[in-house]
Symmetry: C2
Subunit: 409 residues, 2 copies
């Protein structure tokens, strides 16, 4: 083959369809604009991301430093015994009881969710989700070739679940599971017992799995968040996906867990786990002390976030035209802005606005919706700044909205 | 819904089809038998696995101990700058030149291979492989919903590639890529320039990607292994998957890389990477010093494995009826045994045989084939023991074959 033929052929080697539909993080472009703005000397408050700002428990680094194996060998595919036992203890501490054989240590909650989807659904099958939802669910579904079918929630009731018959409309003959996040990213909503019961009844009626993402478990400010494992009637169709990332400020450790009383699901997750061999060894060792004794570290963290939540909610109430509510958990809120296009506003805010040399990066909420056009005037705020900085950020948004409304853009 | 109805429904919540076809590690059952045998006081030599037995470079643990961030935060989805730069340096050291923007740090070579498959192929599409192949390719393909189409290799020519027209027969209108491992796990074969050129020509002719698994690069005892990146005519359809695991004895770190000059592939891998957020932060930092200066650690390791290879090859030649060859690389060999069913023999060996209180665990090679019935009399040996132990292991296999042939089983 000559050079020219090769050249010709070469240009038409296309990617897969899933490569095309795979969503890039919708927040990425705005983040790049923020970096540019910082170079002009403007301080940017990042309300856009869930990267933790609080220090990791020193016990994690101590455990790392104490790692004394000569060879950094593969861990077993289901996890190191010390890590499995620690997850069992951690969950037990929250009244969620599993045998060690029912737990698979995963690379963050992300891998647990991918394994769960692959275990229960085949290419083209459907998983019901509630929008707005954690945007990476799209990515997991694309990797797994599974279709997410969104049930819309509304800011009007603080993004709580709609009645059972509304949810039921999203269920088809191809539906395999209901996936939900409680407490919820991005809304901070905690679904109460009566709400989760709707999902439980539907899962039983339509023979579905329930995949429950509970990584924000402790971030519950008004009442405890209920685990799906608190519903014994779905004990053998519920799959719990969890992660140490948020509650211990160890996002960079990538240690999660998949837990289920459904033997087939666990065996399948283990088979997927065997294919990727193991999860990072040292991190499994390092996280164990915190899982075994979570309270001393987690309690003050949660109090800090409760305070931040209160400051944000209080501040938002003072901004005319902003729709908000009091998120019961996690460390996010999705707010309605008095603008037509929150993405345009966020872009203007980061590119052109400043108040005393400071501005704010917001996450437009459209990226958290699967339905085109939904959430166009909404934005997600993450509480990853000190309360004083959150307060300043809200003041900046307040001033910016005034300026934006006057057409200064 | 009453309890009984729930019970009835519950029992029929099935798994996905891919959960059913997902292969469990075929070596697992035999490993369990080995553990039982050890409890009877018999020493078992593990020739079955690729778990490294040599010490990790102390620099890795030093870098871990020196990690001084207060918060164990997410790394960027494409990798920490220090790790990306280190991979660039490492590959450059081997004459493989990439821009940092063309590299994505992955959770081991495993994730690089999953990302590569998902980037180029959709559900039901095909990837050509050469059997016997690394058994986890099956797992990655199942997760990715991609079909592996095997081209059989033969022990008669040391598992080298067949002529171009034979390989071409495996290519259909649904083929998207050729995947190969060079040096090869499980055969230890290194494909020479003329062999790789066959793949290059076929990829150009049929408009295919080439996915090249080069995790054993340095384990080349007679001549250097050629990277796919040494063929500029496929520079923009080649995807290099690599891992630090084997060459640095850091299997438990799970740090690999995907590298390609094809922008779309890298962008897609990054999008998959964004979905799982990041790879373990501390390990990325810990591996960087070795990637930046690999030779001092790798050179003696390779010499040790060359010695082991020579001892194994020498020993195998003394066993009547065993078919073998001289593997040019990696640290494996697939041998033909004078038995009908290598799995039966391996099971008997681990359950019932002993020589001076010692026995051997082999990996039956059938698990490395996709075609049913292929490799039935073959086994893979890994060189993860000291040369003296490898020699003893070969003697045990020798004695066992004699005993087995006499019908003592």
């Amino acid at each position: 083959m000559n050079e020219m033929q090769a050249q010709e052929t070469r240009t038409i080697v296309g990617l897969s369809e899933r490569a095309r539909v795979m969503q890039a993080s919708p927040l990425r472009k705005l983040a790049a604009l923020a970096e540019q703005r910082k170079k002009t000397g403007i301080k940017v408050f990042h309300l856009n991301i869930g990267q933790p700002d609080l220090p990791t428990a020193p016990a994690v680094f101590e455990a790392m430093r104490g790692f004394d194996q000569k060879t950094l060998a593969y861990a077993p595919s289901n996890g190191l015994p010390v890590a499995i036992n620690a997850w069992k203890n951690y969950l037990g501490h929250h009244g969620i009881h599993f045998e060690e054989s029912e737990l698979i240590v995963t690379a963050g909650g992300s891998e647990a969710l991918i394994f769960a989807m692959c275990a229960v659904a085949d290419a083209g099958e459907e998983v019901v989700v509630f929008e707005p939802f954690y945007t990476n669910y799209n990515g997991f579904a694309t990797i797994a070739n599974v279709r997410l079918v969104p049930v819309p929630l509304s800011i009007e009731n603080g993004f709580h679940l709609p009645p059972e018959d509304i949810i039921e409309r999203a269920i088809t003959s191809r539906t395999r599971a209901i996936l939900f996040c409680n407490p919820s990213n991005p809304t901070g909503t905690i679904y109460g017992r009566d709400e989760v019961e709707r999902l439980v009844r539907l899962a039983l009626k339509h023979n579905l799995y329930i995949i429950s993402d509970e990584v924000y478990r402790e971030f519950a400010y008004d009442a405890d968040a209920i685990s799906i494992m608190g519903f014994p009637e779905v004990a053998d169709r519920a799959i719990l996906c969890d992660s140490s990332s948020k509650r211990f400020n160890v996002c960079g450790a990538r240690i999660g867990v998949l837990a289920s009383h459904h033997k087939g699901v666990v065996e399948t997750a283990l088979k997927f786990g065997m294919a990727r061999l193991s999860v990072a060894t040292v991190e499994q060792v390092a996280i164990a002390p915190l899982l075994n004794d979570p309270e001393p570290y987690v309690r003050p963290i949660v109090e800090e976030f409760r305070h931040r939540r209160d400051v944000v909610v209080e501040g938002l109430r003072t901004i005319p035209g902003v729709t908000s509510y009091k998120p019961e958990g996690a460390f996010y809120i999705v707010i309605g802005l008095p603008v037509k296009d929150a993405e345009h506003f966020a872009r203007w805010l980061i590119n052109d606005f400043e108040l005393n040399g400071e501005t704010v990066l917001l996450a437009p909420a459209a990226g958290f919706y699967a339905t085109p056009g939904q959430g166009a005037n909404e934005a997600r705020l993450a509480f990853m700044l000190k309360a004083s900085e959150l307060k300043r950020s809200i003041d900046i948004v307040h001033a910016a909205l005034g300026s934006y409304a006057k057409g200064h853009h």
